[in-house]
């Protein structure tokens, strides 16, 4: 039995390993085809990563991505595709910033309030897709994409100075006002900068995610629904309730995505808040196989590529190489995981057959004796 476990771990690593090797090779091919040195960019990226400030940036960015990927992964575990993490996150962080800037409370309460508002808004926005799916059968893929667009417009309208936003003198950026210092999440000062305190919360949520999925009845129901909806239903899972709950949790998690940046650095929502984080989260959840440890490394990898590619321009390489690389990673991940999965399943069936035949033979010999 131990042997099977070892095999599983090996197969588990084989999937992403294969995908990454293929993705990097393909990137080299792209570089080669465009008359560039196929390997120098990697070298430059590793050099960039030696700076401590870049390292801090990578870690902070990884924390944000980690939350986004967890939000996506919760849906993935039951075959729900929450493509709307991006919209949920932006709407949530904006409204949380508005609420945070409008009150003054003792520090822990102030932070808690902001976080709870963000989670509620995220859950609500995702919940719309959940309700549409359970009551009208609307595909959550379609509805969450639409809700992303609606969120973008909604934010643009709400942040107008006439509504919730304000325009700082001498700037054309719109913000939601500064949150008082009691609503700042303390960080960890390092040589190269400050690691946001919420980054650690993000990684801790990975443990919560793992525990909930693997050690609770609810998690079992969720995984069972993902593995086979019909079997889960026959086993007593209320699939509609499950879809709605999973959507709400995924949305609440998406609501947290903006927290490291908001609570740790900007202390206000502005038009320059990063968009597209939710989509990167999909990549990371895929690459990390919805596994909290896998997602951790995947988040680190993607933010490494992103943060270290910024300087490539200086050396005559386009920094879009990083985007190409990410795209290639996604496509090779999808292909290689399916290959490895089928191989693993076949191999196990074969193995079980062998072991059973061996047992049967042994029994027969015993009988013969």
């Amino acid at each position: 039995m131990k042997k099977f476990d070892k095999d599983r771990v090996l197969l588990g690593i084989a999937g992403p390993g294969l995908a990454l090797v293929v993705a990097f090779l393909l990137t080299s091919v792209v570089l080669l085809v465009s008359d560039r040195d196929p390997f120098e960019p990697y070298q430059l990226m590793f050099q960039t990563a030696e700076f401590t400030d870049v390292q801090v940036n990578i870690l902070n960015q990884a924390g944000t991505y980690y939350l986004a990927a967890l939000a996506v992964a919760i849906g993935f575990r039951m075959n729900l595709f929450n493509i709307g993490v991006d919209g949920q996150y932006r709407l949530a962080v904006m409204l949380a910033a508005v609420v945070g800037a409008s009150v003054e409370l003792p520090a822990p309460l102030h932070i808690l309030l902001i976080v709870v508002v963000a989670m509620l808004v995220g859950a609500l926005w995702a919940g719309i897709a959940g309700v549409l799916k359970t009551s009208r059968g609307v595909s959550e893929v379609v509805s969450t994409i639409m809700l992303n667009a609606i969120a973008t417009s909604l934010i643009a309208w709400m942040i107008l100075p006439a509504n919730l936003g304000e325009q700082l003198p001498g700037s054309n950026d719109l913000t939601t006002g500064q949150i008082a210092e009691s609503g700042w999440f303390p960080g960890l000062a390092m040589e190269g900068g400050t690691i946001y305190g919420f980054t650690f919360v993000a990684f801790a949520l990975g443990i919560v995610y793992w525990f909930t999925l693997n050690r609770t009845r609810f998690g079992f129901d969720l995984r069972a629904t993902g593995a086979s909806e019909s079997a889960a239903q026959a086993s007593g899972v209320d699939s509609k309730k499950m879809v709605l709950t999973a959507m709400l949790i995924s949305g609440a998690m998406a609501g947290l995505v903006g927290m490291p940046l908001l609570l740790g650095q900007t202390h206000t929502y502005s038009l320059s808040f990063p968009a597209g984080v939710g989509f990167t989260g999909i990549t990371i959840a895929l690459l990390g196989r919805n596994n909290p440890i896998g997602i951790f490394f995947a988040a680190l990898l993607i933010s490494f590529i992103e943060k270290t590619s910024a300087d490539l321009d200086q050396f005559g390489y386009e920094k879009e190489i990083a985007t190409i690389m990410q795209g290639l990673i996604v496509i090779s991940v999808v292909v290689s995981y399916e290959l490895v999965r089928q191989y693993g399943l076949r191999r196990q069936q074969q193995k079980v057959g062998e072991e059973l035949a061996a047992q049967a033979r042994k029994n027969k010999e015993e009988v013969a004796l």
Binding site: A224, A227, A234, S235, V352, G353
Partner: protein
Amino acid sequence: MASALPTAFSLLSRQGECVINASSPSTPPAVELRGITKRFPGVVANHDIDITIRKGTVHALVGENGAGKSTLMKILYGMQKPDEGTITIDGKQVGFHSPADAIAAGIGMVHQHFMLADNLTVLENVVLGGEKLYGIGAKARNKIKEISDAYGLNVRPDVLVEQLGVADRQRVEILKVLYRGARTLILDEPTAVLVPQEVDALFDNLRELKAEGLTVIFISHKLGEVLSVADDITVIRRGTTVGTADPRTTTPKQLAELMVGSELPSPETRESTVTDVPMLNVDALRLTATDPDGVIREVLDGITFTIHKGEVMGIAGVEGNGQTELIEALMGMRDPDGGVITLDGSDISHVPTRKRREDGIGYIPEDRHRHGLLLESPLWENRILGHVTERPNSKKGLLDLKAARKDTERIVREYDVRTPGIEVTAASLSGGNQQKLIVGREMSHHPKLLIAAHPTRGVDVGAQAQIWDQIREARREGLAVLLISADLDELIGLSDTLRVMYRGRLVADADPATITPEELGSAMTGAATGHLEHNENGEGR
């Protein structure tokens, strides 16, 4: 060809056989396998297989699932190479490297799952890949007609395959093989997909083939069919040939015992354990469904019955007459539109599925892959499935993995689930072992009511006997069982009372002690209603 002829032909061929037997030294057998051994890394799939298949006969190959029948046929069809042993076709020793070699030597295979292109006509399907033989036009059409007439296959060359039923598709497959010049046909479980009348028609075709001097190798584990159609029977157990049987003198029971290697219990349960304590009471249950056209149909109408403690109630019926819907209504997967379901005194008509399971309904689903298992999850997770809120699987919302694993090991041991361990996925077990795991899981929670839908479908004889034993045992301890099965012997053998379901209604009842499968069969088609008496004058109510 007239329908009376096949019998005449088979009589003739019987006489012919005697001649062949008498002069056997001069006529070499169609296929002779000697000492075939095939090893896969770490396992011997076949060893010391000896089979002689006489020309112009139907030779049945029987054995449990996983006994090695498929591997052997793959060897004969050139898909696998044997490590030892010889294959002799018509007296000539051969060595196949691919199915093409086997086809060239006159061996054809009709697979269990049809390999036809739906959007092509029969003609196109037949010539596909064999264009060189007779072209693709009139010559090919004439050849198809010729073969079809010669063997009574009744194949129409210009019909689209998508318009054909299962039985017709099978005949096209047979024709495809004959078109390529096969003299020996391998049929892999050909009756698995057919209804009884179609099986009879297939057997008539096989007799025609045999009468024309062709040889048929028939793989099956339906013993009654084997006995009715085969001239010779070879039994395979654990990868080797364990014996041959003469269908004229062998009973299904003897054959089954040869297959599993031990004495076989029958489904009979005659000593009654029925009490007068009602366990499940269904009153005027009604369920409607909306067609794709928007028409509302009653799929269950006025279903009323009571199952007592210690009683097995069997429901007979052609599939699709509301059995599935009845189970789903009882399990809470569909909300009834009317009527009352009472379990052990409490009304559960609209209670959610999980609560019903906690309250003591055990469920052996008809489609275990869709409703009973998580195929890609390990066995211990499958043990939790359906009982996640119950001990030993969880305590206060948290899973108790240690206890669940330990209990899975117990089930594997006590219910004889053949597996190397509990960490393997359910998909890697054979159908029979998957079913034993499900039965073990459901029984482990001491249900008050067991809903067993086709509990032994696709399960080999050995596992079938075990499952019957377990149902009987639980019944003795006061379990109420609702048994739905297409196997009439199983229904009659296990049930204390029998009902017949037809178009969403329970139309007839019968006493399993006296009823015969034939009488039950006529009620299943709606021809008889009311109380079925086992005599000529049985009056309907």
